[in-house]
Amino acid sequence: MSLVPAVPLWLALMVALLLVLGAGLALIGAIGLLRLPSFYERVHAPTLATTLGIGSILIASMLYFSVMESRAVLHEVLIAAVVVTTMPVTLMLLTRAALHRDRREGDSGAPPLPPARGAGE
């Protein structure tokens, strides 16, 4: 491959392994998104796999650029921080919105309300 310069063997093995692991986890998450039957099950599939998958791809990228440029290239940590902090928040918001819609429409697929509710409701 002309684009890839001479890399040490251990680096090529580790980067290739981490990339394939991350992409495989992403594919598993996407298949879960496609195959699981209800929305409340489907929410779980992409989160886990995408967070783990992007984590291992970021580690591969950090490793590759740190060794190739002979200095610590750590700016990928920024993406990891952004993804890890925002992913749970967005999916929590989305699930609450879906629950609100399902309950308002009286959908039987929605989880039931908890038995004891606060007086402020």
Binding site: L3, P5, L34, I54, V82, M87, T90, R96
Partner: protein, 93 residues
């Protein structure tokens, strides 16, 4: 030898990510309700960021990293706004 291993790993990762994007796009088109489509869109954002990182390793430049960071941030904003819309019926109250 090592370049061949790295090239094969990069190619396989790109193919797996493309298949994952295909699955997410299918759910985006078919999803029975709006929240399924929003979830598929969020997954597509994350997969696009991952694909850009793999492109960055393949081309050996760190410029793709910035595009991936912008996509990750925009994915958060877009999904939060769409969830707010599904909840209230309007984005800004």
């Amino acid at each position: 030898m090592s370049a061949a291993i790295l090239g094969a790993g990069l190619l396989l990762a790109q193919l797996l990510l493309a298949a994952a994007m295909g699955c997410a796009a299918w759910r985006l088109m078919r999803g029975p309700r709006a929240q399924d489509r929003v979830l598929a869109l969020d997954t597509l954002y994350m997969l696009a960021a991952m694909l850009l990182l793999v492109f960055g390793i393949r081309s050996g430049s760190t410029h793709y990293f910035e595009a991936a960071l912008v996509i990750a941030l925009l994915g958060f904003v877009a999904t939060a706004a769409l969830a707010k819309f599904l909840m209230r019926g309007e984005v800004i109250e």
